[in-house]
C-alpha cells in the first residue's frame, strides 16, 4: 500500500488526511505536502492519522520537521490518532510531549491552547 494524502480547510485550520504507510519510501511525499502548505501560508495544521497503517521514525522526523516550520510562523501542528500501534511509537520516542494528540478531527480543529 502506498501513501494517500488529501487536504481540506476547516475555518483557519488545514486538515491533512493521511492514509497508508509512512516509511522511508513514502515520507518524502508527506514532507513535500507539509512544506507546500506552509509555503502557501497555512500555518495551523491538523494531521489526521486515523487511516495510517504504518509509521516509522522517518515519518516521525517529517512530522517534527512540519512542527518546526509552522512554529516559525507561530502556527500549530496537531495530530488526530486513536490507534494504539501508532500512539506507541510516539510514546517510546517521547514525542507525545511534543505533539498535541487528539481523538477526533473536530476536537483538534476546536483546540486553541
Amino acid at each position: 500500500m502506498d501513501l494517500s494524502l488529501s487536504t481540506r480547510t476547516v475555518g483557519d485550520r488545514t486538515v491533512v488526511e493521511v492514509g497508508g504507510e509512512i516509511d522511508v519510501y513514502t515520507a518524502p511525499k508527506l514532507r513535500e505536502q507539509l512544506v507546500e502548505l506552509v509555503n502557501d501560508g497555512n500555518f495551523h495544521l491538523v494531521v489526521d492519522m486515523e487511516g495510517v497503517d504504518f509509521l516509522d521514525s522517518t515519518g516521525l522526523g517529517v512530522l517534527v520537521g512540519g512542527l518546526k516550520r509552522v512554529r516559525a510562523h507561530e502556527g500549530s501542528l496537531r495530530l488526530v490518532c486513536n490507534q494504539e500501534r501508532i500512539l506507541k511509537i510516539f510514546r517510546i520516542t517521547g514525542l507525545t510531549k511534543v505533539f498535541p494528540i487528539h481523538s477526533t478531527v473536530d476536537e483538534a480543529v476546536a483546540a486553541t491552547d
Binding site: 516509511d23 519510501y25 504504518f54 516509522d56 521514525s57
Partner: protein, 141 residues
C-alpha cells in the same frame, strides 16, 4: 543457517518488502500476534538505517536480512556494509544523518528487549531476538 535470507538493493522502496517478509516468517515461527507489529516496525527501522548508510557512503552492495527460526526464539539480523568509524567516548556526533540514525536506533531499542548492535570497519549488524511459542500439538484422534 538462516531460515530465510533476503538481500535487497539499498533503495527505500524495498524496505516495505523486507517488513512484509520478516513479519510473515515471524508469524510462521510462532512469534506472538501481538508482537508482530513490533517486529515489522523494528525490522523496517533497521533496514531504513542500513539503506541510508549504504546510500550516504555510495555502497552498491545489497542490504542483507537474515531471519532465523530457532527453538523457542526467532531472530532477525540486518547487516550493512558501511564503514563505521569508531567514535571515541565524548566525541560529538555528526549532523543530520546521525540524528536520523539515532532516532531509528531509539525506536528499535524502545521496541525490542533483546537487541545487539555491533559495528566495525567492514559493516554493521543489528540483531534482534523475540521469544516464540511453539504451535499447540495436534490433537490425537
Amino acid at each position: 543457517m538462516a531460515t530465510v535470507e533476503l538481500r535487497f538493493s539499498a533503495l527505500p522502496e524495498h524496505v516495505r518488502t523486507a517488513r512484509l517478509v520478516a513479519a510473515a516468517v515471524a508469524r510462521r515461527a510462532g512469534v506472538d500476534e501481538a508482537v508482530l507489529d513490533e517486529v515489522r516496525l523494528a525490522v523496517g527501522e533497521a533496514c531504513s538505517r542500513a539503506v541510508g548508510l549504504h546510500r550516504s557512503s555510495g555502497i552498491s552492495a545489497p542490504v542483507k536480512v537474515l531471519l532465523t527460526e530457532e527453538e523457542k526464539q526467532f531472530s532477525i539480523e540486518v547487516g550493512d556494509e558501511a564503514r563505521h568509524a569508531p567514535r571515541r567516548p565524548g566525541e560529538a556526533p555528526g549532523a543530520v544523518d546521525d540524528a536520523e540514525d539515532e532516532m531509528g536506533l531509539a525506536v528499535i531499542s524502545g521496541l525490542v528487549d533483546d537487541v545487539e548492535v555491533s559495528a566495525g570497519e567492514h559493516g554493521g549488524l543489528i540483531k534482534m531476538t523475540w521469544p516464540t511459542t511453539p504451535p499447540p500439538a495436534a490433537p490425537l484422534s
